[in-house]
C-alpha cells in the first residue's frame, strides 16, 4: 500500500508544523496549513487520503472546511481535534466525522486513530 497522504490544518503553526514532522517521521506523507484557505489551496493540488482539522479556527472553522474539502476530494476522510471539548462541539463533530480527539493527545493515540479511520492495521503500513 502506498504512503498515506495527510493534511493537517490548525491555526497554531508551532503545533501543526511539529505534528506534521512527527507524522512524517512515522512514515506518513503529511502536509500542514494554518488556515482554511491555505488548506483548500493545498487540497486542490494534492489528493489527500486524510485531513486532520482543528474545529475552531478563524474565518473558516473545521466543520465548514471539511464540507469544502469534501466537495473537492470526496474520498478524503477526516479526523477533528480541538482544545475545547464542549458537548455541542462533540455532537457536531460526531455527525461529521468518525473521530474526535481532544488536544493534547499522545502521538501514539493519534496514529492509532489514523489507522482506525482509514480501516488499516499498523502492520499493514
Amino acid at each position: 500500500m502506498s504512503t498515506l497522504k495527510i493534511l493537517l490544518v490548525d491555526d497554531e503553526e508551532k503545533f501543526v508544523s511539529a505534528l506534521a514532522q512527527r507524522l512524517n517521521l512515522r512514515g506518513f506523507e503529511a502536509e500542514w496549513a494554518v488556515s482554511g484557505a491555505e488548506a483548500m489551496a493545498k487540497a486542490s493540488r494534492t489528493m489527500f487520503d486524510l485531513a486532520i482539522l482543528d474545529v475552531k479556527m478563524p474565518r473558516l472553522g473545521g466543520v465548514d472546511l471539511k464540507r469544502e474539502l469534501g466537495r473537492i476530494t470526496p474520498s478524503t476522510r477526516f479526523i477533528f481535534f480541538t482544545g475545547h471539548g464542549s458537548e455541542d462541539e462533540f455532537k457536531v463533530c460526531s455527525a461529521e466525522a468518525s473521530c474526535y480527539l481532544v488536544k493534547p493527545m499522545p502521538i501514539d493515540e493519534l496514529v492509532a486513530n489514523i489507522y482506525r479511520v482509514m480501516g488499516l492495521s499498523p502492520k499493514g503500513d
Binding site: 511539529a18 517521521l25 512515522r26 482544545g83 475545547h84 471539548g85 493534547p104 502521538i107
Partner: protein, 590 residues
Amino acid sequence: MSALRRRLTSCLVPKFLKPHHRTLARQGFLDYRSLWLLSIALLAVVSLLPLCIITAIDYTLTGRVAGSEQVLRTVRTASNARRTVTYFLDERRAVLEFTLREETYALMKDPEHLAQVLRNMRAGFGGIVDLGLLTEDGIQVSYAGPFDLQDRSYKDVPWFMAAMEKGAYTSDVFLGFRNISHAIVAVRGETEAGRPFLLRATLDILAFSNMLTSLEAGNSGDAFIINREGVLQTPSKRYGAISQAAGIPVPEFSERTDHFITTDRRGVEVLVAYAYIKASPYILCVVKPTSEAMIGWLQPRIDLLWLAGISLVVIVTAIYVISTYMTNAIYDSNLRQAQVMERMEQTGRLASIGRLAAGVAHEINNPLAVISERAGLVRDMLTLPGRKTGREPAPGLVDNIDIVLESVERCGQITKQLLGFACKIDLTIEKLDLGKVVRGVLRFLEKEAEYRSIGIDVDIPADLPPIHSDRGKLQQITLNLVTNALQAMSSGGSLTLSARLDEGRGVALRFSDTGCGIAPEHLSRIFDPFFTTKGNHEGSGLGLSITYGLVRKLGGAITVESEMNKGTTFLVTLPLAMEEQRVNAEDIVG
C-alpha cells in the same frame, strides 16, 4: 405524641436563643431575640395597659361608691335618731303644755295633786323623773318626785331665766341641787290672776341614753348627744361619760342631717354624722371610724385584685406562648429560606466555576499541545531509527524530554477533568440493584483496603427495592466517596456502607469512615471545586464537587457530618425513580 411535643416545644421554647445557625448568621437574618422581646413588650403594653387602667378605675369608683354608701348609711342612722330624740323631747314638752291647759295653778300648787299628775304622766308616757311648779320669783312652790326640792329658789338659775323668757325651754344636762346629771324641760303658764309661772319636768337621762345605744352604729360606731359646747349629754362608749368634753369638733349648724370627717383625740380618723335637735341645745352625733366604714368594700376589693391578678397571669402566659410560637415560625421559615439560598448559591457557584474552568482548560490545551508536539518532535529526532544522527544524545536528555511529556500528559488529564466538569452528559436510566452496584465498585478497591488493613462492611438489605438510576454515575459516586474515605484513614480503621429505605425520599446510602474527620470550618466548603485539604500534589479538589454534581444530576442530595479524629459520614439520598423533568432542570453542572 412526638408531634404534640414538637408543637408544645415550638410554643414554649425559644429556639433562636441558641447561637444562630451558621447559614442564618452568615446571611445576616433578623435579630430574633430582639424581635421576640419586642413582640412580648408590645403585646404586653397593648393588652395589660387597658387591663390596669380598667382595674384602677374600677377600684377607685367602687371604693368611692362603697364610701358614699357607708356615709349615706351613717347619715341615715343619725337622721333616724334625730327623729326619735326630737319626738321624745316634743312629746315631753307637749305633755307639760297639755297639763298646763288641763290643770289650774291652784290645783297643781297642792303637792299631792302634783304627785298624782306625775304618776299619770309616768304611766302614760314615761321618761320623766319629777315635776315642779315655780312662781315667777323662782320659788318651787310645789314638787313631786324623789328629791327634797320643795320651796327651793331657782331665781338665778340660767334655765329658769331662759324658760321665763322664751315660754318653753329644754336645758343642757347639769348637776343642779340634787347633784346628779339631769336635764330640764320647762313650759310657762299663767295663774288665774294672770301671773306667770313655770311647770318643769326632769327628763330621765337613762331612758334618753338607752334610746341612743339601741341605734345600730356598728361594732366600733358610737351614738351620743353633745351640747353646743361639745360636752357629752349622754354617755359614750368611746368618748367618755356625761358632762365630759367629747373631744370632737362641734359641727357647724345645719338644718338637715350632715356629716364630716375628722380626727378624734385618739388620732383615729372618724366619720361624724350629726343633726341639730330643734328647740334644744342638743346635737346628735353618730361616729364611725372611716376604716370600719370601708370594711364592706374590703371583700369586693380582694375579689377585684384576684381577678386582675389571674387575668394578668393568663395574658402574660398567652403573650409568651404567642410570641415564642410566632418567632419560632419566622426563625424556621428563614432557616429553610437560607438553606435553599445556600444550595442555590452552591449550585450557581459550581456552574460559574464550571464555565470558567472550561474556558481556562481550552486556553491551556493549545499551548500544552504545542509543548507536547515540540518536545515529542525532539524526542523523535533523537530516538527514531530513521533520524538518528549517529551521535548518541547527551546523557539524560531523552529522560528529561520524557519528564516534560509526562508533565504535559498530566496537565492534559487535569484540563480534561475540568472540561468534563462543565460537560453535560446524557443519563441512561435503568433498573438497578444498589447492593450489586456498590459491591461491584468495591471489588476495585478491596486490594488497597486489605493492604492498608482497612475493613469494609457492606450493610445493604437484600429486600431493598431496586432503584431507577444511571449505573455509571452511581458507580462514579460510590468510587469517589469510597476513595475519599480510604484516603482519610491512614492505616487501620473501618468503612461502613449501609443503605436504608427512607420513606418519602427514596434510598439513603451512608458512607461512614473512622478516619481523621473534617475540621468544622472546612465542612461548608468541601463540595467547592478545587477545595482540598490534601497536600499540593495529592488532590485536584474536584472529586467531591464532581460527586456533588453527579448526585444532583441523579435527583438526589448529599450531606456530610464529621467529627475531628472520629470519622466522617456522607449521606447520599437518591430517589427510587428519577423524574425526567427534574433531570433536565438540574442539568447545570457536571
